[in-house]
Structure formats: structure tokens, C-alpha cells
């Protein structure tokens, strides 16, 4: 489908939502459509390697994000929510406008102590602390999320998918407990995801028919402590294309992540630890791949003025593949299998609706670089720096 016809379809969905809300009973406070949105442009430059477009010794403008979000409560116990997203991120995301998600949330049980929600549609996938709102600059701790856990190269795989979900939450003296379960069918995976698992965008394509997600969250009653455990089990089949060197194959991607956040007045400390099991087999290859990557970060954010925030983070991903025979065959250097990233950042909320950010990264390793922006892994520099500026606006 072309971008323009997709856009027309999305505009239709949105118009229907607005129209339905306008037709509702204006006296019912619950029957309102709340619209909000954002737009952000980043400037990126790198000492070596490319990130979201041509950035080496150049000022890249390859990262643009904009979204329009609507939440509508047609009547008590039902919520319809959706988001239209425009995103451009170098060669790894050239899709432009897309329907990010559109879900109906039915709330059959709501009491003072908790409730039950059932979701259906193209639903958001709960994973870690930031996945569900990862495209909204105002909800991120930095311009770029910790890449070792929130891989941009698999974002479209992990972001939202058609499916159903169940959410149960309960709060009492000891805080709030929340459990999320979802079964989704992501369908055909994009080129960036394919390049992430298969090294390059192969002639065929990966298709995922059933994936499962679970998350358990706890928040302390004073909102100062948050803990979460998320688990994903995603399967995909590889369908070879014409002249494909690879045969039909299977992919299993199963990460889990433990998230902890502690707020000490104006300082927020966050850490997440993830293990991802990746298995590739068949593909008409004599040997398969079975690896477990480990990733973690520690982050401190300090609101030192009501509109200023500083950030310091260390983020690392390690894949124990040094002697893996398959990757030895590809001849890629070991430093393409890990990345250690020191980040310092500054946020300035100029007004409640305008935010400026600046960020510096010092990175060793290239594990989370997109193969689409860096087609030759052997030409990547092991140690590199990156500077980013971002202006964001919301309404």
C-alpha cells in the first residue's frame, strides 16, 4: 500500500473517531475524545559510523518523530484509543506515516481497589519501562533510549501488533500490583528487524504468527519505587525469496527484562537487566545459531531545577559469541557483537509544551548499529562518539 493511501485510511479512522465523539452526549463528561500530540526533530553527528542516516562527519537530520493520539470513552467501562505516528529514522525506518496502535479497552470490573481490562485491536506491547511510549520524546529519559535493551533495529517487531491482552491491577496498603498478558500476531517483519537477525536484508522475509507477552509490575504506595518483570516469546518463519541463498528457516526470540526504579526526591535512579535468547535453525544451513545476549544499564536523572534535568547512564550489551562458528563464517569483527555506551544528557523544559535536549554518547562496540545504515560491519569503528540535539513540541 502506498504511503498516501495508507495516510488516507488513517485519516478516515481518525475522522470517524472525532465524529463519533462529537455525536455523543455532551453532558456526559466521560464521553469526550481527548486528543494530544507531539513532534520532534533531532540533529545527530558521529565521529565514526552512521546512526539514523549519514552522520559521520556530517550533521544528520534523519530522526523525525510526530504523533497524534486520541483517547475516547464512548461510555463508562469502554475506552477506545489510538495513535497515528510519523517516523523517519535513517534507513532503518522509512515508513513515514503509520497507524501505531488502535485498541478497544473493555473494563468489565472496576472497583476502588482495582480492576480488570481486556484489550483488542492493534495493541501496545508492554516490555520494560519505556516500550509502550518509546516514540513519545516527553516520556523518554533521553533522546535515545538505552539501545542495548530497547533495540531500535527491532522496534517495529516489538512495539505493537494485532492481538488481544488482559490487564489486571489491584492496589492496597502495600502499593499497586499489575499483571499484563498478551497474545499477538505481528505478521511480516520489516527489513530492519530482518537485518538485525540475519545480518542483512535477505531476499526472503520473516513472518511471525504468534508471540506472547507477560509483564508483572509493582509500584509502592508513595510512588517512589517501581519494579517490573517482562517476558516475550516471539516466533517467526523465514520464507525464502527468488535466488535466495537461504532456505526456509525458523527464528525464536525470547527476551526477559527486570526493571527497577527508585525516586529519591528530585533524583530518579533506574536500572534494567535483560537476557535475550535468540535461536535460528534450518535455513538450509549445516549449523544453527543459539545465543543468549545479556544487556543492562544504570541511569541517574536529577531534576536540579524545576525545568532542568541532567542524566548520566552506562549501558552495555554483551553477546557471548566470540567463538561462535556461524559468526566466524560471516567474518564480522567481534566488536559488532557488543556495545558499551556512556551517556550524559541535559533536558530543558522551556515551557510545558516545548522541550530541548542535548546528549553525548561515548560508545565502544557497534552491536546496536543498524546494518542498513552501516552495510559493511568490517568497516565500522570500534570506538566512536555521538552528539545529539532534539527539539520537541507537544499539544
Amino acid at each position: 500500500m502506498s504511503t498516501s493511501s495508507r495516510f488516507a485510511r488513517l485519516a478516515g479512522v481518525l475522522a470517524a473517531l472525532v465524529g463519533a465523539a462529537a455525536a455523543g452526549d455532551p453532558l456526559l463528561q466521560s464521553n469526550t475524545l481527548l486528543l494530544q500530540g507531539f513532534a520532534a526533530q533531532s540533529l545527530i553527528t558521529t565521529s565514526h559510523n552512521n546512526y539514523f542516516g549519514q552522520t559521520q562527519h556530517a550533521l544528520g537530520t534523519g530522526l523525525t518523530e510526530a504523533g497524534l493520539n486520541g483517547v475516547w470513552r464512548p461510555h463508562d467501562g469502554l475506552l477506545v484509543a489510538g495513535q497515528v505516528l510519523y517516523r523517519r529514522a535513517g534507513k532503518s525506518d522509512q515508513q513515514g506515516v503509520r497507524l501505531d496502535y488502535l485498541q478497544a479497552v473493555w473494563q468489565p470490573l472496576q472497583t476502588t481497589d482495582g480492576g480488570l481490562e481486556l484489550r483488542a485491536g492493534k495493541i501496545k506491547i508492554p516490555y520494560g519501562l519505556y516500550n509502550e511510549t518509546r516514540d513519545v520524546p516527553f516520556t523518554r529519559p533521553s533522546i535515545l533510549l538505552p539501545e542495548s535493551i530497547y533495540f531500535d533495529t527491532v522496534r517495529n517487531f516489538a512495539l505493537a501488533a494485532p492481538g488481544v491482552g488482559l490487564n489486571a491491577h489491584w492496589h492496597g496498603r502495600r502499593g499497586e500490583w499489575q499483571a499484563n498478558l498478551a497474545a499477538v500476531r505481528p505478521g511480516r517483519l520489516d527489513a530492519a528487524t530482518e537485518a538485525n537477525f540475519l545480518n542483512v536484508d535477505q531476499p526472503g522475509h520473516l513472518e511471525s504468527n504468534a508471540s506472547y507477552v507477560a509483564q508483572l509490575r509493582w509500584t509502592s504506595p508513595d510512588e517512589s519505587t517501581l519494579a517490573a518483570l517482562s517476558w516475550v516469546h516471539a516466533n517467526a518463519n523465514y520464507h525464502p525469496g527468488p535466488g535466495d541463498p537461504l532456505g526456509p528457516g525458523k527464528l525464536l526470540f525470547s527476551p526477559w527484562v527486570l526493571s527497577l526504579q527508585k525516586r529519591l526526591d528530585t533524583v530518579t535512579l533506574t536500572t534494567e537487566y535483560a537476557r535475550a535468547h535468540i535461536r535460528l535453525w534450518n535455513f538450509s544451513q549445516p549449523i544453527g545459531v543459539s545465543v543468549t545476549t545479556r544487556a543492562w544499564y544504570v541511569q541517574g536523572a536529577w531534576r536540579f531545577r524545576s525545568r532542568w534535568e541532567g542524566l548520566l547512564r552506562y549501558d552495555a550489551i554483551i553477546s557471548p559469541l566470540k567463538n561462535n562458528p556461524l559468526y566466524a563464517l560471516t567474518g564480522t569483527p567481534y566488536y559488532t557483537r557488543y556495545a558499551k555506551d556512556w551517556t550524559v544528557g541535559l533536558r530543558w523544559d522551556v515551557t510545558p509544551s516545548v522541550m530541548l535536549r542535548a546528549e553525548l554518547h561515548h560508545v565502544t562496540g557497534t552491536a546496536w548499529l543498524s546494518r542498513l545504515d552501516n552495510p559493511n560491519p568490517s568497516a565500522e569503528a570500534r570506538v566512536w562518539n555521538m552528539a545529539l540535539l532534539q527539539a520537541s513540541w507537544r499539544f
Binding site: T32, N69, V71, Q110, T111, E132, E176, P221, E223, R303
Partner: protein, 148 residues
Amino acid sequence: MARPPAPMTKIRSLLMLAALLWGLQSPAFGAVDVIVNNDVPLRQISENTLRAIYTLRQTRWPDGRPVQVFVLADDDPLHGEFAKGLLGMYPYQLRQIWDQMTFSGMGQAPVQLSSQTEMLRRVAATPGAIGYISIPAGNEHVHILSIR
């Protein structure tokens, strides 16, 4: 015969006195009144419940009716006083929670109003509404909740 206080006890009482004096000098958070529409069947509320309502975790009153949350702008001084004084949170932290809830499509953010007069008027006119003011309530359709 009473023993003279141990040095530690002395230090502790000095600290307590200092804390007391500090408390007297800090802005009186009691100036913020939490108001609800008269149909809300409560006269008092705990800090935890108030926080659960403003972080959108509790969406129902005890009689099962939906809660309608009203707020002033993030940079309004009264909002800052309400957030820090009664919820123990900063306005930016509340905004983060609302953003995560609304942009993931799991809830609606509180309705933001432009003045205390409007807050009073909207809470009075909306069933299940909750808000806060520092001006005299003086409206027969709202009542003040005392904080437990």
C-alpha cells in the same frame, strides 16, 4: 532523682526543636483544599487514596461511580503546592505517569483547567469530580475533603 539527659537525647531534642521551627516557617500546605462534587459520598480521604486517584490508579468512588479528575497547569504554583504538599510528588513526575498512561492508550489524563474559579465551577457541575483550590469554596454543590 531524675538523671541528666544523655548527650544523644539532648541532640535529638535539639533536632526536634529545629524541625518544629522549620515546619513553622515552611509554606503552610493546609492552604490547599481538596474539593469534590456533593454527590461524592466521602467527607475525608487518606493521602494514599488521593495519590491513587491523581496517578489514575483509582478510577472509582466507593459507590462505584467514575472519578473525574481536574487539575491546574503543571507550572501553576497551586498545582505545585498540591502535588508536593499532599501527594509528595513533583508536577513533572505526575505528568510522566499521565503521559505513560494516555500515550499507551490505557487511560485519559486529568482535565486541565485554567483557574481556580473554573476549577470550583467545574467540580460543582460535574458528577464524581475532584479538584483543589485555595480560594474559599462557598459553593453549595461542592464540599471539602479532610485529609487523613
